[in-house]
């Protein structure tokens, strides 16, 4: 956890105001005592005296100082499902009896204890620390609304209201689990763990061949050389890196999102899948780039590698906001294609509109290796409205036909299943790359 940072320096000192409880006590005390004295009703005195005593006590005990609050948050950048501490120090509350904190409900933010409410007893020093924990359950950038703190005096007669400032909270996506056993070929980079289709400097054994001028001494296979007429060296496949380009279709978010603990929407699956595949490839030394379309502002992360670049990718993904607007999507459609020829292009889309499939076919026609990951949640058709369910069924039938056509055009479409989602595609691609070719 990072050093706690102040998010609001001392909420404005608010005056102590009488509450409805004080008004009630004053009204009953004076009303009953006056009626009792004027009309000779001793029963009203019996009723009025305890209330007079409440008024007297709470007036004598009335807080005089100016309370001020300063709040701090442990960490403003979290991963999905992570929690951080929210601390607030209230000072100058001498004479107060209790300080109560109430948070405003924020989507995908959970608070402890008591769902974002707490009440702390104030001792004679008038300084009290309120501490709560918050947990962010979904990726994205959101603003935590001010926390309202109410300091109350004895008998709840006087109150002062303090509010903290807005807090910006960045929640990085938690990568889904992903692994790919299949090798990737045809790379054009200089570093990395992906085996190239070309022989060269690397670590993976390719074949044995006779020694040639320029070969390193450590490459000589001495046991084999002893059994043959000349020196034999171990040939290897070159170790190269791969540029994996992600294209995220974030035009809309389909399905319900319950955060990290529940159902995932299409955009949740997209973001977590990109995180997972990017993390996998960056760990192998590959380069990763991300583009989006259909968003409010187009997301662009240029190719790069390393842990800092992964952090950059995750940070950029938190900015994804669906435009839900056909005009934005059409405008984005006119932008140039973002990927280079040698890249593996992974497009993630719920495939509800034809836009993503059209783009995938277009990329395929440019000779790029493209795979489309279908991120539409299974439960998307579950709707209370019968007409909506029917509309979904019709759309899904159309969608199935469109996907079949795209597959016939040579663009594989796979469902996101976590580990191994891309294995079949990568194996097929490797098989095609290693097949003999006729050069004319």
């Amino acid at each position: 956890m990072t050093e706690p940072r102040p998010v609001d320096e001392a909420g404005d000192a608010a005056p102590w105001r009488p509450t409805a409880a004080h008004l009630r006590a004053v009204a009953v005390a004076f009303g009953t005592l006056i009626v009792g004295l004027l009309f000779g009703r001793p029963d009203m005195v019996v009723v009025g005296v305890p209330f007079a005593w409440i008024v007297l006590w709470s007036t004598i005990d009335r807080p005089r100082g100016h309370a001020a609050a300063s709040a701090r948050i442990g960490n403003t950048v979290l991963r999905e499902g992570d929690a951080t501490a929210w601390r607030c120090r209230v000072e100058g509350a001498a004479g107060a009896e209790v300080v109560a904190a109430r948070t405003t409900p924020t989507a995908w933010v959970e608070w402890w204890p008591h769902g974002g409410a707490d009440a702390v007893f104030v001792d004679s020093t008038g300084t009290v620390d309120v501490e709560m924990r918050m947990r962010s359950t979904r990726w994205g950038r959101r603003t935590i609304d001010p926390v309202r703190l109410t300091a109350a005096s004895s008998f709840g007669a006087f109150q002062t209201l303090l509010t903290t400032g807005h807090v910006g909270l960045v929640t990085l996506p938690l990568p889904a689990s992903f692994d790919a056993d299949a090798p990737m070929r045809t790379t054009d980079g200089l570093v990395g763990l992906a085996r190239s289709s070309h022989a060269g400097e690397g670590s993976e054994f390719s074949s044995l061949r006779p020694f040639a001028i320029g070969d390193r001494i450590r490459r000589i296979n001495w046991p084999r050389s002893l059994r043959s007429d000349g020196l034999q060296v171990n040939a290897t496949w070159a170790d190269r890196d791969t540029h994996v380009a992600f294209i995220a279709d974030a035009a809309d978010d389909f399905g319900r999102s319950d955060g990290i603990d529940g159902a995932a929407s299409s955009l949740d699956t997209t973001v977590r899948a990109i995180s997972a595949i990017a993390e996998h490839h960056i760990a192998r030394g590959d380069r990763v780039s991300v583009r989006s379309f259909g968003t409010v502002t187009q997301l662009t992360v240029p190719p790069g590698t390393g842990q800092m670049h992964l952090r950059r990718v995750l940070d950029a993904l938190t900015r994804l906001r669906p435009a839900n607007d056909g005009l934005t999507i059409r405008r984005a459609g006119r932008r140039p294609l973002p990927v280079t020829g040698a890249a593996l292009t992974v497009m993630l889309s719920p495939l509800v509109t034809r836009d993503a499939l059209d783009r995938a076919v277009e990329l395929g026609r440019h000779g790029l290796r493209v795979v489309v990951i279908d991120t539409l949640p299974q439960q998307v058709t579950a709707d209370g409205d019968a007409f909506t369910r029917l509309a979904w069924r019709i759309r899904l039938l159309d969608r199935r036909r469109e996907i079949r056509r795209v597959q016939q055009a040579g663009i594989p479409v796979v469902r996101w299943r976590g580990p191994g989602s891309l294995d079949q595609f990568l194996r097929d691609a490797a098989r095609r790359a290693s097949a003999p070719r006729l050069r004319t």
Binding site: A21, R24, S124
Partner: protein
Amino acid sequence: MIERLVGELWAEMRTASPERWVLVAAAIGSAIVLAALARVDHPLVLACVMGFAAIAALQPASNAGLATMAIVLARWLATADDATTPDTAALAIGLITFHLSLAVMATVPQAITLDPRLRRRWLLRLAGLAGIAMTTWVLVEVFTRRALGTSTALATAAVLAIAAGAGAVRASLSRSTR
């Protein structure tokens, strides 16, 4: 709109702690006792008392509690024949319970369980105020039995003098602890 309001109210009440429900029950229960003591037998008046009490229990920072107490006291003034029966002390204790229940609910969020020190303090207050009500009733009873002419004024003066003394002691204590 009413449906939305009820929905929001219900959603809020679902998060309430068991202690909160005890306080709500105390407020509603004391309102029922007050209505019985004040002989609120007219259905409309009874509906008003219970309606205001329910609103006050759900929104303790409102003035619905004051309206409940005002109706009960007005009804008591209209129907009570003998001002010095034990019902008077019961009425006072009922009003105190109702008032303190609302005051606690207005002070702390509904989802939380009270700090034990706070709970003890409020219970002591309830007991102390009930004691004051009983003492006042005894004083009034004594003055009335002995047929002192200005019993009301005397009782008021005597009790207020005691209260002022207690208040002064309390003030000096709180000054010394700060």
